[in-house]
């Protein structure tokens, strides 16, 4: 009697577990089937085409792939050192009494809903970029990143928003990792007369390599997929340009904006195709990150 209940229980949990595999397969399938029309119509040019024109019926995903990768990568490049700095601050520099409190503050950032950050972005950050940041950056307009005029809704604002959103993710992983660096390794170096910076640079960081990598990749996955906050501040114009002050578009933003209004089969199918691209990119990135984290815990 009891045996069969054990097996039954195991079976139930197994079914739910396998359900997740089935779910992922269904997601892929649905996205793929519904984008077939577009893929068949454009072939490889769907991924490489530079033109996205609902008017002419030509749909190429390149501007959005560019925008997604551009914003996520630059945000990551800036957020990474910031996260390390904050993680060190929280584990070593901050007064012990305040550490919990300050950590909570950083983790609260991750809790703020994306749409609220977008709200703040439209009404506060975008005008700030337009009125204060851009005139400041105009001095550096010889750098191709900072040329042109802006209305506040541009790649730069989106990047700032992304930095703000992915830093807490990396910070919490890094903080855990730095805390787990064995004290005797650090003390050995301190005993030799090293400064805190040198200890961090030569012990903590190399020791936590894998965690750093995992954190980077997970944050990157998040940045690639972030939808609402980016949609509200990015300016909604497909643009393959180096100028960060130009309005732009990402995969997630164009889907959010245009999905409900696409009137013909090809248009809808192309948008779902963009969703497929986005899903594959973020899925692969997250998979790599998880595998690295798994290797870390061995």
């Amino acid at each position: 009697m009891r045996f069969s209940f054990d097996k039954l229980f195991k079976l139930i949990t197994l079914i739910f577990g396998v359900f997740i595999i089935v779910l992922v397969i269904i997601i892929f399938y649905q996205l793929f089937i519904n984008s077939l029309t577009a893929l068949r119509a454009f072939g490889i040019n769907f991924f490489l085409g530079k033109v996205w024109s609902p008017v002419k019926g030509i749909f190429g995903a390149l501007p959005f792939i560019y925008g997604t990768l551009l914003t996520a990568t630059i945000a990551l490049l800036i957020a990474f050192p910031l996260s390390i700095g904050i993680a060190i601050f929280l584990t070593e520099i901050a007064p012990r009494v305040l550490r919990e409190f300050l950590t909570t503050i950083v983790e609260l950032i991750a809790a703020i809903p994306s749409v609220v950050i977008g709200l703040w972005g439209i009404f506060v950050l975008a005008p700030f970029v337009r009125d204060y940041l851009q005139p400041f950056l105009a001095y550096f307009s010889f750098i191709p990143f900072f040329t042109g005029r802006t209305f506040g809704l541009c790649y730069l604002t989106a990047i700032l928003v992304l930095i703000f959103m992915i830093t807490p993710i990396m910070t919490s992983i890094f903080r855990e990792a730095f805390r787990n660096v064995p004290a005797d390794l650090k003390e050995a170096l301190y005993a030799l007369g090293a400064t805190r910076y040198e200890v961090i640079r030569h012990v903590s960081i190399p020791y936590t390599r894998t965690a750093l990598a995992a954190g980077i990749i997970l944050a990157y996955g998040r940045a690639l997929g972030e939808t609402l906050a980016v949609t509200m501040v990015i300016g909604n114009m497909p643009a393959i340009t180096l100028s960060l002050l130009s309005p732009g578009y990402t995969l997630a933003a164009v889907i959010a904006n245009e999905f409900l209004e696409a009137t013909d089969r090809l248009y809808i199918s192309s948008l779902i195709g963009l969703g497929l691209i986005l899903f594959i990119i973020s899925f692969v990135v997250n998979l790599i990150g998880t595998l690295i984290l798994r290797r870390l815990s061995r």
């Binding site: 009891r2 229980f9 195991k10 139930i12 949990t13 197994l14 079914i15 577990g17 359900f19 997740i20 992922v24 269904i26 997601i27 996205l31 519904n34 910031l82 996260s83 700095g85 904050i86 060190i88 601050f89 520099i93 300050l102 909570t104 503050i105 950083v106 983790e107 609260l108 950032i109 703020i112 809903p113 994306s114 749409v115 609220v116 709200l119 703040w120 439209i122 009404f123 506060v124 703000f164 830093t167 910076y197 040198e198 961090i200 997970l218 998040r222 997929g225 972030e226 609402l228 997630a252 889907i255 999905f259 969703g275 986005l278 973020s282 899925f283 997250n286 998979l287 998880t290 595998l291």
Partner: protein, 274 residues
Amino acid sequence: MIIRKIKDKLFTLFAIASFIIVSLPLFHIILTIIVNGIGAINLEFFIALPNPPGVPGGGIVNAIEGSIILVCLTMLISFPIGFFGGIYLAEYGKGPLAETVRNLTNSLSGIPSIVAGIFSYTLIVIYFGFSALAGAIALSLLAIPYIVRTTEEALKAVPNDIREAGLALGLPRWKVTLYLVVGAAKPRILAGTLLAVARIIGEAAPLLFTAFGNPFYTYSIFEPTDALPLLIFNYALSPYPDWHLKAWGAALVLIIIVLSINLTVKYYVQREGK
């Protein structure tokens, strides 16, 4: 020697500066929301349905009801899946099948919220129409990996002594797992579920083309519904100043809910840890 000291000081400065750079916007956001949103908060805000633009007054009770319905429905769908899936991974989780489940779950956790919306649209909306159900299914895609991971970690953190003690007393395996181990891990599982709730109550992207929005009360899960983040999104992009005010008010309500949940969970977990 001096250079080394300077590098050290610079680094310390950098660390402090990073913290300030990143926490300043947080305070500014919260401050802005409070300052802008407090003007919208009154009793009518929580009780009344929205008025057309230009007509003063009105409230957001449709969004509040919608958010409640969506959260309940999403938890109803995703909690069993996540809970039992987590149990599977924690208790029976060795071997290639379990590994695959684990890896796929974690990869699913990164799904862009808009893709969850598209998925629900192609599967549900086309056949059943815009509905709270479609919205809940989209939100479940986001919640399930979260709950699986939380449950698995919570169960793994329960020391083996409990399991062995239960088995030694003659309890069948399933009772050991379901009653003893889960019982011991209950606080953590609860905490994780609450965090999942905090996460999905603030998501609007999956709802854009599933829940559709509704300026009246929702009476059925097969009907469209509004939600707090969806309302914020729509009102923020409208040209009416009174709707902007309501968007800030709704943002204030949302952020109070989300931050309360997060802080409560944190406090609770800290207490358990001691």
